[in-house]
Symmetry: C2
Subunit: 371 residues, 2 copies
Amino acid sequence: MSLAARRRTRRELADGREIIYFDDHAAPPREAVDTRDLGERALAGELRRDALTGDWVAIAGHRLHRTFLPPKDECPLCPSGRGTVPSEIPESDYDVVVFENRFPSFSAHAEEGAGTAYGMFEHVPAHGRCEVVCFTSDHEASFASLPASRVRTVIEAWADRTSELGRQPGVEQVFCFENRGQEIGVTLHHPHGQIYAYPFVPSRTQSLLTEARRHHDRTGRLLGADILTAERRDGSRMVLEGRHWSAYVPYAARWPVEVHLAPHRDVPDLVALDGAERDELAEVYLDLLGRLDRYHPSPDGSPLRLPYIAAWQQAPVHVGRDVSRLHLQVMSVLRAPGKLKYLAGSESGVGGWVNDVPPERIAARLREVGG
Amino acid sequence: MSLAARRRTRRELADGREIIYFDDHAAPPREAVDTRDLGERALAGELRRDALTGDWVAIAGHRLHRTFLPPKDECPLCPSGRGTVPSEIPESDYDVVVFENRFPSFSAHAEEGAGTAYGMFEHVPAHGRCEVVCFTSDHEASFASLPASRVRTVIEAWADRTSELGRQPGVEQVFCFENRGQEIGVTLHHPHGQIYAYPFVPSRTQSLLTEARRHHDRTGRLLGADILTAERRDGSRMVLEGRHWSAYVPYAARWPVEVHLAPHRDVPDLVALDGAERDELAEVYLDLLGRLDRYHPSPDGSPLRLPYIAAWQQAPVHVGRDVSRLHLQVMSVLRAPGKLKYLAGSESGVGGWVNDVPPERIAARLREVGG
């Protein structure tokens, strides 16, 4: 399916939040009106600087009241008209839809005030944006069960949002991700991801950037490219190699299941991917997610649906674009059926990671469960 | 009770691991012999450098087989002779006991090889040490239920281990911590903590050090001291103030429940605390833990036993000792009874922390539930 066949429709929800439909097939015009009385739009809170580490922390008190594992007929991500209450999506069907989170950690509408810095206490409004990306109108589906043409539409949506959010004033980093599974804290079962537009470069992204800069200064090459070359040459942690993408378990994997997916060409972000790369990404990502769902043998033979975090590492908006290289990191806390890895004292207290599973063993299993 | 009344007895377990008894009352000599046939001592694995971030990650394959929530009569931390199988502690009773972890992430006995660095792949043996600290022989107790005299003995044990492990060749950081509660992944219910001696400065400790150095270069003062002064002056996040110690919720708290406990005097680590400071620490830490257990109203009125990570931030062994300042960080994932905070996409993917609870609200609650 060509790009031209896709349609993008921008609308507004009852409280003024933006909603954008990305249709991958012929569909009626997206004209439904949000008739809910949502009252005042929720504001984002504030960003506080942690003097001990220099990191920014978003303080978002209202999120305590966000929707938590609602019954299926009250799912806010299903199309309206299917459940007992109107949902966040006014239309009666959709392909892919993106809208501003009702309970945002970051928003153009944040608590007033220019921020203050007195002594150790520095804060600014939590400007930025939090968006929800619904991958399908089918409540029971999962990303891994989508057809490649739909994944292709999701990729278009991610690239669209990366481009558009990166042009908003004050946005420094656009982060597309999916949290999947109750084990990682997902509060809505409907297949969806999120996009955060941060008004700062988050600390882990900053660490990636620092090392990439150091490597580039020393060698003149991109760190991400050298890692990919080294992994493909070594082979012991490779999972799959396509024409434009390869997946491997990183040499120093932190999670009991972790895999990185990187393009063969040097690109800073999803926006820079060409059509052929996007087409193949849809295929190889589905391949990878299928392997992840087959990773742990399920005790009763039913599909396990591995909980995971899928995190797109993109170049920051304004800095380090010359040394950053796009890649996807997918990681799971599930060590074995019923056994989770926790980020306890060593990881959360001092940042000392311990992985009980050798990366080569993870890779061997991911190769073994290829479709 | 004076220090002189405490007794320290060093012994060896059947596989050569060290075990040290710290007795806080008159007790028979600790002479029991470990009669188990433990076979070969488990080796630690290797440390791999994550080229993307520069962090070291411990790869410890054998830990997958470690003891996981055993039945009470097989508890490896109870004294021997009480259960069906001999435990890790040969004696039939003890006050506080420290021994080398049977499944260590770091050990003087690590897999052979001097380490290699080729291309992107650099590793070294995971030298260092992992110790278990049993706070009491009473399986059903918790740290918060200990008498102050026992806590005082635990403090002696922490200081002893910090001093001794810091003198071992290659150790760069000694980290005393307690993980409490299944919600944070505790696999043994018996009240215990751990001590990790890392052969590197872990990444979060390094972040604290970098900011402390920056602040010192700019002001000539200790960052930790300036934060404590600012919190005591502001007052809105104070929890308790003693003669030698104060507890406050940090301005940019990351966790739904988080509290820091800091000495009034500038000290780099637990070893540097004087007798009066250690005496008061026992009292205020018990006070604080009592508040934490009363933090969330329990649905049925029974004590909730808040899950927590208690993490002692000490100066590294060889660097930054002139700018580091001892403090304890206690944090919990429990947002509300039955509701956890997860370190999902934003935190784990890019290091962007979101806290749904304003720090001032955490502090108000901790003041409210004072004993």
